[in-house]
């Protein structure tokens, strides 16, 4: 049976969108149905994105030709992102079955969750600048409400902070969209790229590009713009934290940044150096702040900032190897950070606390959590032969290859810092003596264990991606080539 991938492209957006509305219609009070529908949707999306590997093409929405209608573009980079969103989303939806039991209005959770997936898939696939902004807002609004889902003091405060900074960055992005439309007279990404290649980049266009870099740095939580992340990600329910840290900051932050910079505007050396410094700053500041945290989810949130820095550093090198490293680290981070957030969620679910000081000795009580968390920690810390080691190695090698020895040293040092805070989590949560308060602890529920095992398997499997060569890991190499190929117009 052959499947027409071209016809599948709009389904990546339509299926989760339709299901999120359907859940409100038919499953509002039938939670089991809502859970089943969500899991099936994500399963379908995973299969669909697996089928679209190796395919690239343009879909014209409604059959309208390119400048009139809206295009959707699928290429190796988009496929890679779709695959991460679906796989992490699948694990998270399995995990939510048990975890969300203590919340009321669970059908709303699943609807919002699917809306978030809709927004991210839309951002990944769209070939139109304004359409990108619309999907960005869909994903963002869903995530604002998901952060506030618990409706307690911290959740509301974090969500308010998130929504204010999120709207601010969206306003900057919309300004940039307006400027780009005014200058180039088109919103189609390929046409914009062609127009820029034709006329060169004048000052207003550089202003627009600068606004886009700042706007998406907010979304990706790069360091001067990161203030919302350490509040918003820990405050959300654990499945949402996993989704936000694992996928959202990449799909609507780094992916768009890379796509616009490399494929549309055509990045110059001074802008690359800006990205490198932003990356370095996030890497160092996030790493240092993470070591001092006492709340396990907050520690992971700061660690996300630090790891995002690695990715942006890789992208900012602009060399083929650097791009491979940045994208490979992005894929790895999606899996191990969502795994770690699910681990933290299980700890919170079973023990009722997130404070590292009150934990200890959990590896006897929560064996699956302990084992998967060890895999996640070792991956993120870059212990060979886990996946994080390879992606960090590629980034460091790319730094050396392009003559940036200082950046290479910093990357190695921050990896050591990463190892330090991950060991801190392992020691304080899983290895120290079991406190008396936790003696009667239950094991983790089966669906949670299943989700964590799924992600841990993914982490291990990703390490084998380098078997196809350091410069061309499986799937990632092709995705990086999309970026190295230059602008759509050139």
């Amino acid at each position: 049976m052959t499947i027409d991938v071209q016809a599948l492209m709009p389904m990546f957006v339509a299926v989760p969108l339709g299901l999120s509305l359907l859940i409100q219609l038919v499953a509002r009070h039938r939670h089991v149905l809502a859970e089943a529908l969500t899991i099936l949707t994500l399963l379908l999306l995973t299969v669909m994105s697996y089928y679209s590997i190796g395919y690239s093409g343009v879909y014209h929405l409604g059959g309208w030709p390119t400048p009139v209608g809206i295009d959707m573009r699928l290429d190796a980079l988009a496929t890679l992102l779709l695959l991460i969103v679906s796989v992490v989303g699948l694990a998270v939806s399995l995990y939510s079955v048990d975890y969300m039991r203590r919340f009321t209005a669970r059908s709303h959770f699943y609807s919002l969750f699917l809306l978030m997936v809709t927004g991210m898939n839309g951002v990944i696939l769209t070939g139109d600048l304004f359409n990108l902004y619309v999907f960005l807002e869909v994903a963002a609004i869903a995530s604002y409400s998901l952060v506030a889902f618990g409706c307690d003091h911290e959740e509301l405060e974090a969500s308010f902070k998130y929504i204010v900074l999120g709207s601010l960055s969206s306003a900057l992005i919309l300004t940039a969209v307006a400027l780009v439309y005014g200058i180039t007279g088109t919103l189609n990404l390929a046409h914009i790229a062609a127009r820029i290649a034709e006329t060169g980049r004048d000052t207003p266009l550089l202003l627009a590009f600068g606004l886009l870099i700042v706007g998406f740095s907010f979304k990706a939580a790069l360091v001067p713009f990161h203030a919302w992340l350490p509040d918003a990600h820990p405050a959300a329910p654990a499945p949402v934290s996993a989704m936000l840290s694992g996928v959202l900051i990449k799909a609507i932050g780094i992916y768009v940044l890379a796509r616009l910079a490399f494929n549309v505007f055509g990045i110059a050396e001074n802008e690359l150096s800006l990205l490198r410094w932003l990356g370095l700053l996030s890497m160092v500041a996030g790493g240092i702040l993470a070591t001092g945290q006492k709340d396990i989810k907050r520690l992971f949130a700061y660690s996300s900032i630090s790891q995002v820095g690695f990715m942006v550093l890789g992208l900012g090198l602009g060399t083929p190897l650097g791009l491979v490293g940045g994208l490979y680290h992005m894929v790895n981070h999606a899996l191990f950070k969502s795994l770690l957030f699910l681990n933290a969620g299980t700890i919170e679910y079973t023990t009722g606390t997130r404070q590292l000081k009150k934990l200890g000795g959990l590896n006897s009580k929560l064996p699956v959590t302990a084992a998967t968390s060890l895999i996640g920690s070792m991956s993120i810390a870059g212990i060979p032969p886990f996946s994080g080691f390879w992606s960090k190695l590629i980034i460091v090698l790319a730094c050396i290859e392009s003559g940036h020895y200082g950046f290479a040293t910093a990357a190695v040092l921050v990896s050591i810092v990463t190892l330090a805070y991950q060991l801190k989590v392992q020691r304080m949560a899983f290895f120290a003596a079991l406190p008396d308060a936790l003696k009667g602890l239950q094991r983790e529920p089966p669906m949670m264990a299943l989700a964590m095992i799924l992600l841990a398997t993914g982490c291990i499997a990703l390490a084998f991606a380098v078997l196809t060569g350091l410069r061309d890991p499986w799937l990632v190499g092709a995705a990086a080539q999309v970026l190295t190929a230059g602008t759509f117009g050139g």
Binding site: V134, I163, S167, L168, L174, V177
Partner: protein, 115 residues
């Protein structure tokens, strides 16, 4: 000239977001900023003494294109206003919930999260 007024509106909004202490005032400032952006977007499609963008069978399509205002930014602004309304509703709901929990609209007193 008129573009710099848009910029002024955006900057007033930005200033409001940065210095306000009341949650609702922050929301209003964001609204002002957003409307500055909408105005900018509208002005990009504006043409002095242009015709409304409704096709008139009496003139050719090139003539029409060179005389009417650009309808696309108007459609974009409409979309953006709807999105803005959604965000606004959510923000105000959050402000109400925050008031229920903390008993204040003052952001300097709403700070359990730090560090």
């Amino acid at each position: 000239m008129i573009f710099s007024l848009c910029l002024l509106l955006i900057l007033i909004g930005l200033y409001g977001v940065v210095v306000s202490r009341q949650t609702l005032k922050i929301v209003i400032s964001l609204l002002i900023m957003n409307h500055g952006v909408h105005l900018l977007l509208l002005l990009i499609g504006y043409r002095e003494a242009g015709n409304p963008p409704i096709v008139d069978p009496a003139i050719t399509i090139t003539e029409f294109a060179s005389s009417s205002v650009d309808p696309l930014p108007q459609a974009l602004v409409l979309t953006s206003i709807v999105i803005g309304l959604g965000v606004l509703a959510l923000m105000v709901a959050l402000c109400v919930r925050l008031y229920e929990r903390y008993g204040t609209f003052d952001v300097t007193e709403i700070r359990r999260l730090r560090g």
